[in-house]
């Protein structure tokens, strides 16, 4: 049990240590004052933007007052803060009971307005959860270090288990289309998830291994997509010819963009990559004679079965039909299943590459660069070439993913390659824990899978996405599964726990 301290109005100063000499008990005045201050801030935040809404009227812009929502949020913040303050002072059990009563009343009894019900249920629920955790663990608040240690243990377990989980997951992914579960929607979601997993793994090479923060990764995705679309459009090349070409072009653009900026460090590098990403998007929008501008390119040819067979019912001249070739009943699902396996294979190639390269001099140099730039230079590692290699290889994988995206959608436009896509891919890498391959998968399921499952809440999806990014970072700043054993150890390796997790 932590003891109350005089610093209640600044809970962030409240160190989780024991303060001898201060007895138990609740400092009501300070707690209520603190909650009141929080409610006042909530008032200032909500009055202009929540309480007053602009509405379109025939005469122009009008305004509408929503006082009940302002009052609701103030009440929510006040009691929420009060509850948290009391939990911190060892009153978890009464708070738990009260919060549960609130939530129950909100659920069962009739309420004059919906807003009141929402306040009771939501506020009561969250506080009850928090209080229950405190009651269960017997501690008011884990310190950041404790929490980190605990999560590190879980992460280490997952890392070790990934030796078994990995193959199981791959087998599961491979047999998924054959199970009766697989319908059109599930496969589409699977393809989407695998695309982001592949992009995450690709970006992980730059961010996780080489330690370069790239905010413009989507540019290479765009280069790959447009390479295929334009080559197919102007020269009629097939997907299988274009796939390596798209990768090559993306890698070239990676070298081209990377060469001037790799001297920069840290945040500057991030901003310049963001700038490059935007430049590529603006070029795609403005060079409409060539790229179709904002309208994009439609009618991008679908992939054939390795150039042998086509997936349509009536294939073009000189092509066999896939279902006839294998003596199957025609089904539009065949193409989807094929696309699914294609992206699975591409993603696994990226994963295998990363796993292997970490054992090669190149990968070791990347990891060393990430840990200490200057030490690397002193050891005679050519920093520019190493970083350029990371940039180009990641760009190549981005290009592969891009041309897959183009052939799957059949339509691309610059809309698909905005900064928000870069942010999502980067979020996947960082939330999963930089450099952790299994972390990317977990984060993709969280970041892409969860919103996909709640599609009907379309408007609130991105709101929750942004808030989720903040919350995960606050909860676990190094990413969910950030634990990494050093790839090599001195003297054949003491236990990883003794050397500690690499930062």
């Amino acid at each position: 049990m932590t003891t109350p301290s005089h610093a209640q109005s600044h809970p962030h100063y409240h160190i989780n240590g024991k303060r001898p000499g201060v007895g138990p008990g609740v400092n009501w005045a300070a707690t209520i004052k603190d909650a009141g201050l929080a409610a006042f801030v909530a008032l200032l935040l909500t009055v202009p933007l929540v309480g007053l809404r602009t509405v379109d009227r025939p005469t122009g812009l009008g305004i509408e007052a929503r006082p009940e929502e302002v009052i609701a949020s103030i009440v929510l913040v006040f009691f929420g803060r009060l509850g948290l303050g009391l939990i911190r002072q060892g009153m978890a059990l009464p708070v738990l009971i009260l919060a549960l009563v609130c939530a129950g009343v909100g659920l069962v009894l009739p309420m004059p307005t919906q807003v009141l019900r929402l306040v009771l249920v939501l506020g009561g629920g969250v506080i009850a959860l928090r209080a229950a955790m405190t009651v269960a663990t017997g501690r008011s608040k884990l310190s950041q270090a404790d929490r980190d240690k605990r999560m590190d243990r879980i992460a280490a377990k997952v890392q070790h288990a990934s030796r078994y989980i990995g193959p199981v997951a791959v087998v599961f992914a491979a047999i998924l289309p054959m199970t009766p579960l697989a319908d059109r929607m599930l496969l589409d979601i699977g393809i989407l998830l695998l695309t982001y997993i592949m992009l995450g793994w690709g970006l992980n090479i730059v961010v996780g291994l080489a330690g370069l923060l790239d905010l413009g990764y989507v540019a290479f995705y765009a280069v790959g997509a447009y390479s295929y679309a334009l080559l197919a459009h102007y020269f009629g090349l097939s997907f299988w010819v274009c796939l390596p070409l798209a990768g090559l072009l993306a890698a070239c653009s990676g070298v081209l963009l990377g060469f001037p900026v790799l001297r920069l460090r840290g945040d500057y590098f991030a901003i310049v990559t963001l700038g490059f990403g935007e430049i590529i998007r603006i070029i795609l929008v403005n060079w409409y004679q060539f790229t179709g501008g904002p309208n994009g390119i439609s009618g991008i040819p679908r992939p054939s079965f390795f150039g042998i067979a086509d997936f349509s019912r009536t294939p073009a001249e000189g092509m066999a039909a896939f279902h006839e070739l294998f003596g199957l009943e025609f089904s539009p699902l065949h193409r989807i299943v094929f696309l699914y396996y294609l992206i699975l294979a591409l993603a696994l190639v990226v994963n295998l590459f990363t796993l292997r390269v970490r054992k090669l001099p190149l990968g070791r140099a990347w990891e060393a660069l990430r840990e200490d730039d200057i030490a690397c230079a002193s050891l005679g590692i050519n920093r520019t070439n190493m970083k350029l290699a990371a940039f180009a290889i990641a760009a190549m994988f981005g290009g592969f993913a891009g041309s897959f995206f183009a052939t799957r959608q059949g339509f691309i436009s610059p809309e698909s390659f905005t900064f928000i896509e870069s942010a999502i891919i980067l979020a996947i890498v960082v939330l999963g824990g930089m450099g952790s391959q299994i972390g990317v998968v977990v984060a993709t399921l969280l970041v892409i899978g969860l919103p996909e499952a709640f599609r009907e809440l379309a408007d609130y999806r991105m709101l929750a996405f942004g808030a989720g990014m903040v919350v995960i970072m606050l909860w676990r700043p190094r990413g969910l599964l950030a634990h990494r054993d050093p790839t090599i150890l001195l003297h054949g390796g003491k236990t990883p726990a003794a050397t500690g997790a690499a930062k």
Binding site: L49, I63, M473, L474
Partner: protein, 301 residues
């Protein structure tokens, strides 16, 4: 020549707006070394608060324009700074001792959150507003016309800059701020409340961004929830161009970016103006990473 002067004035007023936003970036970067990615969104919120305040006081029956403008200015500065404060308190302060990437990701998340927050609350459609301050000042026998709004933007920015420079150079808050910028730990040991100084830095940055937001609303007469991103990136460019951490640099960078944009639109065409801005950013970072007025950073092992 007339056209040149016209573009010059357009560029100056645009640059003033970028400069006001850039100060927020540069101060935050100077003091806690992070790119406050949500700052563009703060500017967007300032713009929305100004719009809502105008509509609200219109509904209350206040029609005298100077008073209306003053209330708009004060309200948007006040409410937006509360947003700036809250963003720092919730999303950045707990991450102050974390690895460098964590606050950046948190900031990107905050930026996405705020954008969608405004979109849900106020609607996705762009918000038009009738001109509040119509009229032009004609110069050179009518060849050049400067709208009062643009003139007001430049004047208000100048006044704010003078006040702000005084605040940083003369007051004890400014001294504490500069001390924290140099060495937070030492400043803390000498009795400076570092948390409070950092909070106030965010509050000041947000207040200046709110002024910029209101000016954009007055000049262009239309805003939407998405204006923050591009303005944010360009203002960051301005901050980098001027030299991150330097206040006059931020203003200078803003003016340079504004002028480039205005002249590029005027003489080359407006489609490629964003490419011009980003190319400047890239070129400056490659050839002069410390910016125009920045101090070189010494690499220590």
């Amino acid at each position: 020549m007339d056209y040149f002067i016209q573009q010059l004035i357009n560029g100056l007023s645009l640059g003033a707006i970028y400069g006001l936003i850039a100060i927020g970036y540069t101060m935050v970067y100077g003091i806690i070394g992070m790119i406050n990615f949500a700052h563009g969104e703060i500017y967007m919120i300032g713009s929305f608060v100004a719009l809502i305040t105008f509509l609200a006081i219109g509904a209350l029956g206040i029609t005298w324009v100077p008073l209306a403008l003053l209330i708009m200015l004060l309200a948007s500065m006040l409410f937006t700074s509360v947003y700036g404060w809250t963003v720092e308190r919730i999303a950045y302060r707990p991450l102050r001792s974390s690895p460098r990437l964590a606050p950046l990701i948190s900031a990107i998340g905050m930026s996405i959150f705020l954008q969608n927050y405004i979109q849900i609350l106020q609607g996705a459609r762009s918000k038009p507003l009738q001109p509040i301050l119509p009229g032009n000042l004609t110069l050179m026998d009518g060849a050049v016309s400067v709208s009062y709004v643009r003139l007001a933007t430049i004047i208000i920015t100048l006044v704010l800059m003078i006040g702000f420079t005084t605040l940083i150079n003369r007051t004890s808050l400014g001294r504490a701020q500069r001390a924290c910028e140099q060495d937070k730990k030492m400043a803390g040991l000498l009795g400076v409340n570092v948390d409070r100084v950092i909070s106030l830095t965010f509050v000041m940055g947000a207040a200046l961004a709110a002024v910029a937001g209101m000016m954009v609303l007055l000049i262009y007469g239309v805003i939407d929830f998405y204006i923050g991103f591009l303005a944010g990136v360009k203002s960051f460019t301005a901050a980098v161009l001027g030299g991150v951490g330097s206040l006059p640099g931020a203003m200078l960078g803003g003016v340079v970016i504004g002028l480039i944009e205005a002249f590029w639109s005027g003489y080359v065409g407006s489609e490629w103006k964003d490419v011009a801005t980003f190319s400047i950013l890239v070129l400056v970072l490659i050839f002069r990473p410390t910016g125009l007025l920045g101090r070189p950073e010494i690499e220590k092992v």
